[in-house]
């Protein structure tokens, strides 16, 4: 298989580069390989879009969870503070 054909077929490598690119600058060669692949592969273009959307969703999930005021119960807190006081004494 020619070098070019390998790039065009290899969705495993392309998705690997898609993930890497979201966290780090790709090398020139990696960037070229990814562009060539995406130019001819609609499935990986969709993967790219969904992968980025998942990142946004994860971030959102994290921010939302900070808003929901999950609190420790008072008995647990009182007991905990008592243990700290004990340690201080």
């Amino acid at each position: 298989m020619s070098y070019l054909k390998k790039i065009i077929y290899n969705c495993k490598q392309a998705t690997f580069l898609i993930e890497k690119k979201q966290l780090k600058r790709l090398t020139f060669r990696e960037e070229m390989e990814l562009r060539i692949h995406l130019a001819g592969c609609g499935v990986c273009v969709l993967y790219n879009k969904q992968s980025r959307a998942i990142n946004d969703m994860v971030q959102q999930l994290f921010h939302d969870s900070l808003k929901n005021e999950l609190k420790l119960d008072d008995a647990f807190k009182a007991d905990l503070q008592a243990r700290i006081e004990e340690g201080l004494a």
Partner: protein, 191 residues
């Protein structure tokens, strides 16, 4: 105010920081009992280190750093031993997504549109978020730890590698596999 030195006041710790630390742990560990234990351990460990506090950071930052180390210990524990087997199994499954010889998507695993992702309907979004949470929990512990540290804490790759004892090469493999699995899980449970 740059010269102000922060001081510790353990008498106020629980009232001031317990809920914050609890939330911090819950988001990263996803288990209420473990999170509770970690908060408790954090305060008790902090108490032993009080005399080593240099006042360079705020009380909250200092306590959070102690908690963070404890969370990483949990990650490590979870991703050793038996958990390795589950990661290997999941890796094996992911290899099933692509053809062995040329790396092409296998037809049955190729990404398809996930309707709720493009939709702005808040109800659909909420449902999809619920599925995402379950899918995250299904990831092998080590992958989940790497994924969480990178995406939630935005930790430097080098730090994640050092703290979780994974090589750089393995880090990228895990990041890739975790996402491919997560996406497949969303598609499978949505459609």
């Amino acid at each position: 105010m740059l010269t102000e030195t922060n001081v510790l006041n353990p008498h106020k710790w629980v009232a001031a920081y317990a809920d914050y630390l609890y939330m911090y742990a819950i988001v990263r560990i996803n288990d209420e009992d473990t999170a509770k234990d970690l908060v408790q351990e954090t305060f008790l460990a902090a108490l032993e280190k009080v005399d080593r506090f240099e006042g360079k950071s705020t009380e909250r930052t200092w306590l959070t750093a102690i908690l963070k180390n404890k969370i990483i210990d949990v990650y490590r524990k979870k991703s050793s031993g038996l958990a390795i087997a589950s990661a290997n199994k999941a890796a094996q499954e992911q290899d099933d997504f692509f053809e062995e010889d040329n790396g092409h998507w296998k037809a049955e695993y190729a990404p398809q549109p996930i309707a709720a992702m493009d939709d702005q309907d808040p109800l659909l979004k909420k449902e999809l978020n619920g599925i995402l949470q379950k899918c995250l929990q299904k990831l092998p512990a080590l992958w989940n730890a790497v994924f969480t540290m990178k995406h939630i804490d935005d930790a430097a790759t080098e730090n994640i590698c050092t703290e979780l004892h994974v090589s750089q090469a393995n880090f990228w493999v895990i990041i890739h596999r975790a996402k491919v699995n997560l996406r497949a899980c969303l598609q499978k449970n949505w459609n």
